[in-house]
Amino acid sequence: MTEMPSIDKKKCNRCGLCVSVCGCGAIVMVNNVVTIIETEDCHWCTTCEAVCPTGALTCSFEIVIEESPKTDS
């Protein structure tokens, strides 16, 4: 399963901005409802979150610490 941005349908006002900016075609309007299609092409650019005026669309990050020592020390 590919992870995708998530959408809170209650907050969405169906303005369609996210659909218009997504370059990978992951966000579509189906019967006037914004729908996210799973695709490997989503590179988490977060543009859809940036344009969403209502905060309905979110691209969340997991923050992890990589424990490997620095290579160039």
């Binding site: 900016v21 990050f61 997991e62 923050i63 990589e66 490997s68």
Partner: protein, 223 residues
Amino acid sequence: MTINIAFLKLAAYFAVLSNAELDVIKQAFSEKTFQRGEVILWEGEMSDVLFFVAVGAVKIFKTSSQGKEQILSIARPGDALNDISIFDGKTNPVSAQALGPVTIYGIKRERLQIVFQQNPELTLNAIKVLAERTRHLFTLVEDLSFRHVLGRVVKILLTHAGDGGGPVQRLTQQEMAAMAGTAREVVARSLKALEEQGYIRLENHRIVINDKESLQKILTDTI
């Protein structure tokens, strides 16, 4: 091409007019469309047409002398793109690029002057619109120029980081902005700066901290 007054009404500069008044002034406007990635305006160029967004989203950015891009805001339907250069007669302070298919409405400076003369309430309203924008920009300038915001973003990263083992709380850039008390654009820029320094790596839906010590140093230096 017909100008839709519903879109004109979205523009803060004209929202104070009634539908009947908008119907009269709409003849002064023209429409232009742009595809994803097309540049609508370049920083440093002169403008003689006031542009604002009718449909779509537009990236407003500046480019530094080293060619680095700094996103200042996203313009949505109703937002003007070059009001500052139209009003002061100087060059565009920012560039604007279509993030997807975009429809722009434009009105020539001379026609705009006539519309303002015929509808004096527009002038007072324009001052209000510009004042609101100035206030927003002041906050942005403060956050962009002071290191404390970077420190706050680093603190958020360190506090919310997991070791990749168990489930960790996930955060959006919007949430980080709310936590750091700043705008999303400032968080995006801070993350980019940390990535350029090699302290973190932005992967698909993961922020990987690869130099925890340097981040901790930023934290102590900025407190």
